[in-house]
Amino acid sequence: MRKTKWIFFFYLAVVGLFIVGVAFSLSFTPARDPYTLYTEHPGTIRTLDPAEAADQPAALILGELYECLYNYKYGVTPYELFPELAADMPVYSDGGRVMTIRLRKGIRFYDPEHKVFPSGVGPAITAKDVIYSFKRVCDANLSGVNYSTVFEDRIVGIEDWWNYTKTLPDSKLDWDRPVKGFQILDDHTIRLVMPQPNPQMIYNLAASWTSIVSRDAVNYWKQDFRLHPVATGAYYLKENLPDQRIVMEANPIYRGRPDVDGDADVPESQRLPHIKRMEYDYFTETLPPWILFTQGLFDAAVIPKESFNEAIQLQSGQLSEDLVKKGVILIKSPLPITEYIGFNMQDPILGKNLPLRQAMSMAFDRESYIKNFWNGRGLPAIGPIPPGFPTYDPKQVNPYTQFNLVAAREKMKQAEKINGGPIPPLHILMRDSDTLERQVAENLALQMNQIGLNVQPEYRDFARWNEMVDNRQTQLFDAGWVADYPDEQDFFQLFYGKNAPAMGVNSAAYVNPAFDKLYDRAAVLQGGPQRRRLYLQMGKIVMNDCPWLLVFYPTSYALHYDWLSGLRSMDYGYALRQYLSLDVALRRKRLEGR
């Protein structure tokens, strides 16, 4: 009895201690700095090495730390590039096959840990650093996740370099080994030689994967370079707690603006970044960051689907009165995304049956789909090119994206004739198995049922979906494409015949020689009326052939408090936070009494 009693008392003591500890710990709220921007970050950072990072969460951070040769002008649409580490826009020669780029002078690497460069200040960027950084993107030892995206088949001699990196470990590579397409003309001039003109190459030089890194830092940190950025951007990495938070502070040797040389004298009042410290907390779930935003603990947020009705008035589509009173501002902006359902053109039933694809496209009610599943956050798709591109025309009429059951049933009669009888059940591959995805698939099946089609959904996780779509093992698949740069070519490559074989980006395996001919002509042209005409023709071919059942263009609903200013919706570009400002007094005032 006595022993049991003591155990019981011990237990009570432990519980008591826990309660006291909890009560005490409640006063240990992590300190909030009034000059810091607080927001959420969508995922774990796998690597902060530009050559190895290929995911959006990493790109968001990389963009604040590193710089590229070019970047997008902040808040300017249609999007325009400006020279960032480059001194001016590239000079094209040899019919557009050669790009000569001058570099800015005096832009130095900053080493926040003072390990690589004891004073913290590294040497100024030279042509050698740029070519070294580009070669790293094409290093098989680093897995080359961005090699296909950026340089493969686009630089003369790059395949030789890639094969060479496969033969030796990084430490034994001769980084000065010449690559014909990467030339150093002098300390501040480089030349890129391409096998054929590639007007989109400049966009690759404005993507964070081609950020310029310090060779000394890579040599010092070796494998750990991915966690220790030494860069030239507006911010440096102050703290990186994996799966918890990432903190960045203003780079003390930043030149003050991204579009000037390192020794430029930028007046103090105009110097960027305005916000000296940023703290990003990781959240994989959508509810906690939303609660933190409504409490004013986060300065900006996206609206989770489940809280949409709380934030937006259903009738007007405007912000709720409660949030308006709190000083919240809504930014609605169309995203450069086209959501679609792909038809596998290699499928014997779908590929040869144009009326079937057209009938399915006409039987799909896009308006109700957007309203019911996306809270009205989107526009019905008309063509493959979403808003924000010069050839997008909201007044354009595509008969196959207009909901018309009568016409769809007529098309079905033709489709059955071509098929030699009723269309057998069709299978659609969904890229997840969550509730939304199941509802979307069931909705599609119901809509197709109206024209006598039996569409059966199959659910896979994203990785398996990817594999099956890449290997053309599907009939129908739900998909979406996010533009990588503001040029329609990024979408049209998805219909180009040479990209149709397995693993190619033309997931529908659509092949139309007439389209390919136009694509080949447009691919080597710089922007202008001629290319625009070609793009319009290509768009019409795709709309008529229906290799995709075009669904919708999503719209982003982003929120921020009025104490945060300067926020612009930017679909491309990086280093965007340096332009933001915090009104510390207003924030304090608004949060008083909350």
């Binding site: 826990f18 796998r46 995911d55 996740v145 296909s148 779930e285 906690p288 990785a463 990817n466 980006v505």
Partner: protein, 307 residues
């Protein structure tokens, strides 16, 4: 007893190998090529080969299997970090939530079970049983989300979610997950232990003790409690390995960077080394704990011998 332990250890080996084979085959047959996951939008054969090489998935399957069996795990695909280092980083965080939750929950379960069983048929018994059943019936996710809204969002007594290093900062973030974990788990245990206590209360030895004039409290805490310990041990020791793997849903929803959240995210990200590692290590500890439970039986109940 030693012969028994050795025999059980030897019998555990094929079970363990079976678990590893099953998980390995699941990854090999069901899961797609992880290189595709990490390749991004634009893929080429060359690039996929390089990624496979970096991930170590280009070596023969039998070699990969032997490596796992011999504890030579590949680094995490997603973190590019050794799985042992991930264990060292994340297991303490899971334990910080799970150990207090486990002990508070177990104590509450036992105290409440003894209390209501000794007052069987009274309003107190019905009341506690009703609350316990209600607690068991509420979906655990609803409980967690509700707690976040009410205590984090509305009342602001606790942080909504997150984590921070440092003992008191960690406790600051751990308090609500621990409390909801206890609330969510206590009901089932109370019902289970109440049934066991009731069985013991009606046993002959209890009647004899009472007849001899032993005070009711002593009967309950000495005679009954001692005999209840065997099912308590069975029920609790086997869950000990799960303490360090953490709670999958709890950690995910409360954004606690522990082992449970790691497992969920690793499954989503096709991070085979991490999943294999967690399955292997958990199974191993689980099997050892089962043997340990048998040994403890002999200590708790002298009538039990291991042969």
């Amino acid at each position: 007893m030693w012969a028994y332990i050795v025999r059980r250890l030897l019998l555990s080996i094929p079970i363990l190998i079976g678990i590893v084979i099953l998980t390995f085959l699941l990854f090999d047959v069901v899961a797609p090529d992880p290189a595709i996951v990490y390749a991004g939008k634009f893929k080429s054969v060359e690039q996929l080969q390089a990624i496979r090489h970096q991930l170590g998935t280009d070596v023969p399957k039998w070699r990969q299997f032997v490596n796992i069996l011999t504890f030579h795990f590949a680094p995490s695909f997603r973190y590019q970090e050794s799985v042992w280092s991930l264990l060292a980083r994340k297991a303490p965080i899971s334990l910080a939530i799970q150990i207090p939750a486990f002990f508070i929950e177990l104590g509450l379960q036992l105290v409440l079970a003894l209390f209501v069983a000794s007052r069987r048929g009274t309003i107190l018994d019905y009341g506690v049983t009703l609350i316990a059943v209600l607690g068991m019936s509420v979906p655990i996710i609803s409980l967690y989300l509700g707690a976040q809204w009410i205590f984090g969002g509305w009342l602001r007594w606790f942080p909504v979610a997150g984590w921070s290093p440092g003992f008191f900062y960690a406790l600051h973030f751990a308090a609500l997950p621990i409390i909801v974990s206890v609330i969510g788990g206590v009901g089932g245990g109370v019902r289970f232990y109440r049934t066991i206590v009731l069985e013991e209360i009606n046993a002959d030895y209890v009647r004899t003790a009472r007849a001899k004039g032993v005070p009711a409290r002593e009967v309950l805490f000495t005679h009954v409690f001692g005999n209840v310990l065997i099912p308590v041990l069975t029920n609790t020791i086997v869950v000990l390995p799960l303490l360090f793997t953490g709670s999958l849903v709890l950690e995910q929803l409360f954004q606690i960077p522990g082992f449970g959240a790691l497992l969920v995210e690793s499954i989503h990200a096709q991070d085979q080394p991490v999943v294999m590692f967690i399955v292997y290590i958990t199974s191993l500890i689980y099997l050892v704990m089962l043997i340990f439970t048998d040994i403890l039986y002999t200590l708790v109940d002298p009538r039990v011998t291991l042969k």
